[in-house]
Symmetry: C2
Subunit: 237 residues, 2 copies
């Protein structure tokens, strides 16, 4: 085997962060993504995924978390590795390998995010032309989120500890961008929920029960130890 390359390839992490924001007029929720404006070349002035270099003494997920906090002040409730992008020509200024993560934050967290000239939220399905291959990366992260929502409990990461079935259903509807039958949705997720006993009163209708997941999902990426379906290639019909 060749000698160890101590002149190694620059290694970066980036993160696709998703938050739900409810549209003021329609009332419907939708996915939004925070992006940062590049101040240096290449792609100076363009919007890009938050990210940065991996330090020698920190793990990959740690590096993602740290960069998130530094650039956007966000602390996600869910973080998972997406893919390692390493095409030789992805950056015009020289070879960079990026390990990309995707993250979910709650709405209250998202509001606390620093927004300004160099950090701004964009609708996930209507993005400008971004730096590097970041449009492709976000498309992939979106596909993964939408796919994974249907067989895992990640919707929890958008909500608080307890929630009503309507809350949960609205998260699914916002992510999947289609209405879901409340009756069938209830049955689909029923086995993963336990009622807390509390209800929400105040609405001019029957008070909905508050539920809790019967098993909490991992907050932060712990690698492929706990396995779920996710992936990198479209299923065939």
């Amino acid at each position: 085997m060749a000698a160890s390359p101590r002149d190694g390839i620059p290694l970066a992490v980036s993160t696709v962060i998703f938050a739900l924001r409810s549209d003021a007029e329609s009332g419907l929720g939708a996915l939004w993504i925070p992006l940062v404006r590049r101040i240096t070349e290449p792609f100076g002035g363009r919007w890009a995924l938050p990210g940065g270099w991996v330090r020698a003494e920190e793990g990959l997920a740690d590096a993602a978390s740290r960069n998130l906090l530094e650039t956007t002040a966000l602390e996600p409730t869910y973080l998972e590795q997406l893919y390692a992008f390493g095409n030789v020509d992805r950056s015009p200024s020289g070879r960079v390998v990026s390990i990309v993560y995707w993250a979910l934050v709650r709405a209250d967290q998202a509001e606390r995010a620093t927004e300004g000239e160099n950090v701004r939220w964009f609708p996930a399905d209507d993005l400008p032309e971004l730096a590097f291959d970041h449009n492709v990366i976000i498309d992939y992260a979106l596909w993964r989120l939408r796919t994974k929502l249907e067989y895992s409990r990640i919707a929890q990461a958008f909500l608080g500890e307890t929630f009503t079935l309507t809350d949960l259903r609205e998260v699914h509807e916002a992510v999947l961008r289609r209405p879901l039958d409340p009756a069938n949705f209830r049955r689909q997720v029923a086995s993963t929920l336990v009622p807390t006993g509390a209800v929400v009163s105040g609405g001019r209708h029957r008070p909905p029960k508050l539920y809790r997941y019967n098993q909490t999902i991992e907050v932060v990426d712990n690698g492929p130890i706990s396995r779920e379906k996710t992936g990198s290639n479209r299923a065939i019909s």
Copy 2:
């Protein structure tokens, strides 16, 4: 953002290679993996996944292919990224980030592989204690292969251009380690196959038709462009 770390972290690729070998006595097929013996510290003498450093001018999948060819002389018919392993303590001799791929080779290819003192095939489900975190990595790759087999056409990568339904079923049975009902298996995969017209005669029974996939799978990893389900976290029940 901090200055670019031109003293970057060493970046390696490794590959989990699967081949089917039919056991001489039982006649049943099983998954085998080629491993290489480490000649340097750390873990000198231990068996490990084939791999090496990523060169500055080659893509990640290219690096995986090259290392495969150099260390085992194998040319896989399928190659896909598995996961980027980057724990700070995965190597006792210093930080290394490994992008791991998994690959499938046909039986005829596998026979051509160099086997000797420093390259040897092992049954995938009965491995010795390997170097680094390679046992964990292989467990994950095995899970991914078994999961993906059920909703994609990767079984094709173990076979030639044409094959009988029994050939295909035996691949599935070997990977999943359980017998499958021939009648139901036929119906499950029927929509993905087209008969070639040819049959196999010579057996002392009705000659089976030779089939071909109606759509070829990609031979080599092309990133997350073509999407299928795969993944990194276990599905909930």
